[in-house]
Amino acid sequence: MTFRKYLVLAGVTLCASIGDSLLSRGMKQVGSISLNHLSDLILAVLNPSVALGILLLLGFFACYMTALSWADLTYVLPATSLGYVLLVLIAKFYLHETVTTTRWIGVLLISAGVGFVTQGPALTHHPPKAAEHEEEYEPAAPRNHR
């Protein structure tokens, strides 16, 4: 994992959570859209928050696809779930909402999950079968590799 790859993962996280918040804010400004006036949905794009939100979600998709080109799905998904934590922090410090203890525990669990997955390798290497168990149950005795 290089610094540039961590930047792409950060891009997935930031674009998804900020894009979703902007869309949510924009759609609340636009107001509810009835099924009889679906053309309002097209006009909603004119709202700056909605437009910026869509742009960020496109950025999210590009970063997500890039990340999947060099990392496993089971690595990318948990690693980028920090976006949920970010949303809670935005709610707490930017929107001044009260965050309950249950939610803080949720934040803790997600952060722990991210910690677990990012300690391991990002990509499964398929051909070498010998490397299959190299990371599990390492013997306590010191190894003499050089």
Partner: protein, 126 residues
């Protein structure tokens, strides 16, 4: 009865988004490291290869299905149940599907990560 509808909506969303994630992941592994390919042959080659990949197109179709099922689900069910339940279950089903269909090595660490994140997402909605 409403309960049954809600849970079947959740099942459809989870199934569609897991299928989508697996197909998109397979497509991008076939395309290869996007950064390296970009440096070697330019952005248009990257875009061409991604957009012509059948798995990518099917993956986008599955993701679209998941998105519309979510919208339909939200129109009859509880937002506070459907959104977090489907988001949370998707982390676990993706770990299972990635192991079976993508042959990813899902070790203890990754199982723990999937379960912890799934649990955390549930608590955030509680």
């Amino acid at each position: 009865m409403k309960q049954a509808f809600t849970w079947s909506a959740i099942a459809v969303i989870v199934l569609a988004s897991t299928t989508g994630d697996v197909l998109l992941s397979r497509a991008m592994k076939q395309v290869g490291d996007v950064g390296a390919l970009w440096r070697r042959s330019g952005l248009w080659t990257v875009l061409g290869r991604v957009l012509r990949n059948p798995n990518f197109l099917l993956g986008v179709l599955a993701m679209t299905t998941a998105f519309y099922s979510l919208l339909f689900g939200l129109s009859w069910g509880d937002v506070s149940l459907i959104a977090p339940a489907s988001a949370s279950l998707t982390f676990v089903t993706n770990a299972v599907a990635a192991k079976i269909f993508l042959h990813e090595r899902v070790d203890h660490r990754r199982w723990m990560a999937a379960v912890l994140v799934a649990g955390g997402v549930v608590l955030l909605a509680a």
